[in-house]
Amino acid sequence: MEIVFNFFEKNGLIVAFVAVGAISYLGFLISKHVLNNKIPGAAVSILLGLIVAYFSGLYTGGSKGIADISIFSGMSLLGGSMFRDFAIVSTAMGASFMLIRQTGLAGAISLVLGTTVSFVGGAIVAVFFGYDDAKSIATIGAGACTFIVGPVTGAALQASSEVIALSIATGVVKSIFVTISTPFIAPYIGLNNAHSAMIYGGMMSTTSGVSAGLAATDTKLVPYGALTATFATGMGCLLCPSVFYLILEKIL
């Protein structure tokens, strides 16, 4: 048994290929036979991935989902930012530069608006929960942008570690919720072309949520949404600890 465990650990990436293949197969099977193709196989697979992460987290008490189980440690390499970003870039092959240029301005507006709306939304919730200092409110509002903007803002403003942890959790919830809800909400907001996908990417900010949400909705839209979303974290890190924090301080 030990030979097998050691072997799996040493060949983590290959084990991850097999594991993801198995999850995807199950996802497409459920999509076809249980859900009558009403929810795309990719969406079911991503959801299965999240469920696996939940139970793995309960079992190990760690923070990296299934990757905390040592024989599946390769999952954190395959699902890490290097492979994710590399795969996202490759999807640009099918994208049209013309469409991107036409939507460029709208994408830029959506970035600013998305960061502002997320920050305000998060900040209002923080106030409702009894926070009354600008540092904590700004940090939680920043967490509502992405789970990177939260801790970056919190560290810059020297917020308490409890609030920083909360802002990370807020960002993770957002990313997961964007992933799950996008395929359902897409028909209602006209998310079916490059133009709206670029605006969606900027508004939602979270690269992981946007890339997974669009993958579950329509793979053709992935490059457009990802293109704008990848600027959002930078935008959030720029605005939240500076302009937004100062405005918040003035109001309070």
Partner: protein, 122 residues
């Protein structure tokens, strides 16, 4: 050869991500600013340039297409390594603050699409 495509993709990735790192440093932000976006633009423009001159073989293209088809599996792996427990257990605040802004943003999308569509025509 397939490796030419993979290598080409890798070069675009490195150039774009590096540009994102330097841009972040330049504006004083502790994160990568648009690295993936720049890499995508490089890929689109460079592929277009070489393709027009017939310098991009179908074989090389396969090296890029393979990775674009690996995209969903990579996302599944990413989902399986998220900290879902913390997201669900860290209390109501994180859940509400994570969900409400998403709805607010969803609501803005059709509005923004309408506003910017009209400027597309001219």
């Amino acid at each position: 050869m397939v490796i030419y495509g993979v290598s080409f993709l890798g070069a675009c990735y490195i150039l774009g991500q590096l540009l994102g790192e330097f841009l972040a440093k330049w504006i004083g932000v502790k994160a990568n600013v648009g690295g993936v976006g720049f890499a995508m633009l490089f890929l689109i423009l460079a592929h277009d340039y070489f393709n027009k001159r017939n310098l991009f073989s179908a074989e090389a293209e396969k090296g890029i297409l393979f990775w674009s088809q690996m995209y969903i599996p990579v996302i599944v792996a990413m989902s399986a390594t998220q900290n879902v427990v913390v997201a669900l257990d860290s209390g109501l605040l994180a859940i509400i603050a994570g969900i409400i802004p998403v709805f607010m943003c969803f609501a803005c999308i059709p509005l923004l699409v309408k506003l910017t569509k009209s400027s597309l025509i001219d």
